[in-house]
Symmetry: C2
Subunit: 646 residues, 2 copies
């Protein structure tokens, strides 16, 4: 008999050799129908794996991230089989699940796969799926495994197997198909009801551009046809809202091949929007007792030796900057914290002077492979809305709550009301992994959990997810398309105060170490603006949007009046444009709609006589003819209703 611990803490006894699926059945038939993957003692197993020792078991359904991973990985086997059948001689390499679906990298004997081939692949894969073939894992000796793929002439799998240890190698079979595989499948192919091939791309074997180029086939699958349909609609909408597309159309930012990939250039409208966002946060931060500082974008080697980053500065980074002076090296700063520690160290502090809160919109640089760059969300240079709080351990609790308040204010003012929090704490089984006293860790973890509770956050606690230097809380935000993004982080740090020898004099007249909190409510200005663009589809909150209104004279005759209206809007600090091209009002409205301008102010004969403007909202709502004063009130009220003061 073995003892199985379930996630609710209950322990059940079973015969040795019981499978996760059997355990599911003892719980409920309904659960058993939905279980598609399992984790036993922190390792993903098949639902059919016999369990022979005591341990903890978690069962996963499609609703779980781990369930989706198993589902998509299993589908990649089906698609691989379809490719083998459709493209005889194709060589398979690897086929993992990814965030949204899966891919399989293959070496085609001849020809290419293009979009017109997708339906045929999908059809073949679905045919296979409908066969309800079980996924069956089996151990293979290294010699047999090598022989299997050498016979096929598949040098890729051979290379993979050569790097594996004999005794650890497994194959997975289903139908007539066999693949080298570590495991983690759903019970059978029949659960996959909808498969979509999304795209193909080139990919180098092992990501190395000196190695052969393969064809990467991207796909996704679902347990219901309806779910695929919804997903494709979402994709369509996401394409329309793609921040790269909108950023270009709205003239917010651009990239230049000469300046370099992943290095955004902010155009006037984007730079102004970004400044409004920064000023919004600055104002709240001032009230919250932060002080702004400014630090350089480089730092000497010694700084990063002290911080510990230098040792981790590998070959995949921007390389150090040397100078005419021997052994002098500077690094492009990858983070602002070491600089802020040096600012803290400019003078001695008493406990009465803490907390010190140093904030900076600090631009940092991190090298990313060009293939990983993506608009403003994955860049090589970005500006963090960074701050570091230096406080006594006793102040940590209150400071953490204050930071949560500020973060909630930021999210709320920008229309993100769907979010959760993730609290990352120690792995209690590995105490040696962490720096700082157990007492301080307990205090900090408790402070974070208390704060999350007290502020009414919807949070989960993830054991073992804390950094070695301290626990943290991350905000996970759902955007208008239901996609989840990690935004804003609050981290406790016991490491840097130690490394930079930060001190303060306590009430006991002894020197103590302050605790440090890293925090960034936006995360990065670039990523946040990208997200906000996709969340709002470019229809930014009124206080933030580049142009709040556009004046549209119905004919040349009313241009003078239109100019007068514009002047008067400017005096009221409303950001407005005028469109006095010789075009129809209809066309002007259509373009203003495309440019996401919230208010179109049409002015014609009647308006000029009555000294009014005819207001049309973005989207079509007609607000009728009102005076400029009334319009000004409308704008002010709308801004005040979204943008509360902190």
């Amino acid at each position: 008999m073995i003892e199985i611990t379930l996630p609710d803490g209950s322990i059940k006894e079973f015969d040795k050799g019981i499978t996760p699926m059997d355990v599911a059945k003892t719980i409920s038939e309904g659960l058993a129908r939905n279980v598609i993957s399992a984790k036993f003692n922190n390792t993903i197993v098949e639902t059919t794996t016999p369990l022979s020792i005591n341990g903890s078991l978690t069962l996963y359904t499609w609703k779980d991230k781990q369930g989706k991973t198993a589902f998509w990985h299993s589908t990649s086997h089906i698609v691989a089989q379809a490719l083998e059948e459709l493209y005889p001689g194709v060589k398979l390499t690897i086929g993992p699940a990814i965030d949204n679906g899966f891919y399989y990298d293959v070496d085609l004997p001849t020809g290419t796969i293009s979009e017109k081939d997708f339906p045929k692949i999908e059809q073949k894969a679905l045919e296979i799926a409908r066969g309800k073939h079980d996924y069956k894992m089996r151990s293979v000796s290294k010699a047999d495994a090598l022989k299997f793929y050498k016979d096929q002439g598949n040098e890729y799998k051979v290379e993979l197997i050569e790097n594996l240890e004999d005794g650890s190698i497994t194959f997975c079979d289903h139908d007539t198909f066999t693949d080298l595989c570590r495991g983690g499948h759903i019970p059978n192919t029949g659960i996959v009801k909808a498969i979509k091939i999304l795209s193909v791309a080139g990919a180098y074997w092992r990501g190395d551009e000196n190695k052969p180029q393969l064809t990467r086939v991207y796909g996704i699958s679902f347990p219901k046809q309806k779910e695929l349909k919804e997903y494709l609609e979402l994709l369509e909408e996401a394409k329309k809202r793609d921040h790269r597309k909108l950023g270009k159309e709205l003239e917010l930012f651009t990239f230049s091949q000469k300046v370099g990939q992943g290095l955004p250039l902010w155009l006037p409208k984007g730079a102004a929007l970004r400044e409004r966002l920064e000023n919004f946060l600055k104002k709240a931060q001032k009230k919250a007792g932060y002080e702004m500082v400014v630090t350089p974008h480089i730092g000497q080697k010694e700084l990063y030796v002290t911080s510990g980053h230098y040792a981790k500065y590998g070959e995949d980074s921007f390389q150090p900057i040397t100078t005419p002076k021997k052994d002098e090296e500077f690094l492009l700063k990858p983070m602002n914290c070491p600089h802020h520690c040096e600012i803290y160290n400019t003078k001695p502090y008493s406990y009465k002077e803490l907390p010190k809160r140093f904030a900076e919109f600090g631009t940092v640089y991190r090298y990313e492979q060009s293939g990983e760059l993506h608009g403003l969300t994955r860049v090589r240079g970005f500006t963090q809305d960074d701050a570091h709080i230096f406080c006594t351990p006793d102040q940590l609790d209150q400071e953490f709550k204050n930071v949560i308040d500020l973060s909630l204010y930021v999210l709320g003012s920008l229309g993100f009301d769907n979010f959760t929090a993730q609290v990352s704490v120690r792995d209690l089984d590995n105490p040696d992994k962490y720096i700082g006293s157990v007492e301080n860790w307990e205090k900090a973890e408790q402070a974070i959990i208390n704060a999350a509770k007290e502020k009414g956050l919807d949070y989960v606690i993830e054991s073992g997810e804390a950094a070695f230097y301290g626990p943290k809380l991350d905000f996970m935000v759902k955007d208008a398309l239901g996609r989840q993004w990690q935004l804003g982080t609050i981290q406790v740090d016991y490491n840097l105060p130690e490394r930079f020898d930060l001190t303060y004099k306590g009430s006991d007249n002894e020197m103590h170490r302050p605790v440090m909190i890293h925090r960034a409510p936006f995360g990065s200005m670039e990523r946040f603006i990208a997200l906000l663009l996709e969340h709002t589809g470019g229809n930014f909150p009124l206080w933030l949007i580049p142009d709040q209104a556009i004046v549209l004279p119905v004919s040349e005759k009313h241009e003078k009046y239109a100019e007068k209206v514009l002047k008067s809007l400017e005096n009221n600090e409303i950001r407005a444009l005028i469109d006095n091209r010789n075009e129809t009002v209809g066309k002007k409205i259509r373009e203003a709609e495309m440019n996401k301008i919230p208010f179109m102010l049409v002015v014609g004969e009647n308006d000029e006589i009555a000294n009014t403007i005819s207001v049309r909202r973005h989207g079509g709502e007609d607000l009728g003819a009102i005076t400029i004063e009334q319009f000004n009130d409308l704008v002010t009220n709308e801004i005040n209703s979204t943008l509360k003061s902190f």
Copy 2:
């Protein structure tokens, strides 16, 4: 007979062999008494050099920069003689004039020179000077010159001579002293009436730290004892106002050995002051039609190949940043213009859309030798208040005037009312040096001169001082100590539009090149703030100063009332502090004076009863007891009187 052209354009005939001093005598005895140096055909000559060809002659007195240079260089010979007499065996190397005085680098046989030795050196040098010895130049063959210094065992002079061409070598004698020297002396030592040794420092032979270390003796001299006294008083005052000292005392900025020399860290009070300055300029720039942009602090090699900077990026610079990708190189940006050209190039323009004015507070990095770094005035990273105007050639005139208006507004608002302008134009004898058509150059130079005239600037035109890419205007500002600084520059550029292939469509429907103007009214935020600190001695204009007022309760009893006063000041957006330490009001006032706080608001029994504050200005003026409203008006009026809107 030869023809001599004088600076006023007049041409006089003289016998061949006439000396500059003889020419001076023909003009006036007074002039001859004061002439101490001369330039003939663009070469500095002795006042005793016989002239044997036609040419242009300029005579210099102590009032001229060139006169001072000759005076100080000549003094370095006297001091060198003194050192030879006082330190037998001393080896002389080089002894040039510098901006304020001169130095001589010497290799001492034994021992050191310290401050206590200065009077003895000064005394000996003055003794020599009083001998009224003439400076006499003579030609020496290379062999004789080498023998002279080899006999002395002076390897430094030998090395210098080895690099000279035979036939071009001259010695200068006075009294018993001889030195290798190119010339440029005053008539005799007797003109030097006051000599001061200022300091000693270590200096490497030829500035190379692998070569022997020498002793650099700094000194200065004057034709009158009174002038030396005034200079020393000025030095004393400058020391008090040294921005490095004040910056530390007022907690504006700091440097960290770990972050790196020459890389300022802006502390909260300094960062806030800097932001006020930036906002002040932003506001004016917005009115003037500028648009802010934001660009990264690095750029790819290709960007600088295009701009032409890459070719000039030498070994004395921050070296390129390499990446994991072969042949990929980034440079830390030394200027913002290439980035702004790329922004211009994002879309096509019609002439109707010009001028475009892109502004950015852009932080740039330039490597300076550590010995050349100086507080905020010589740094390795600094923020330019940069902007680039792209306009049609026809718009240049108006744009230039607009930039002058903006520059004058900036200088005026910050209390600099003593300045001149320098207009740098082509060297008409070297037309090949310049890029761009002669027609455009003429237009641009005329535009600058017209603008300078029309705006009533006190300006000089310097021929041949223009950059190869265009003419420019620099503002030269005199600070409160009478020292001159170059501040703010306006440059026309025909080069980058060419290199970046910038275009616009003209009214003729053809594509044309825009003209570019580079301009920065502050120059750099770091240097400007340093200058402002020294100009004001830390007593910044009221609108800019970190803390505008401090509330000083006379005893603990009045703390509550003091807090109420503080709150009320904050509501009026007056930046105020409170000093409620248990100290005497006298002490609090003394410290507030040191901290340069403009208004001290003493509150005691009577104030609390009458609801007033007793206002004391920085410096001591007593403004009596007034209400907070009255004080608020006082502050507002004072700010409005210095800070006009643009």
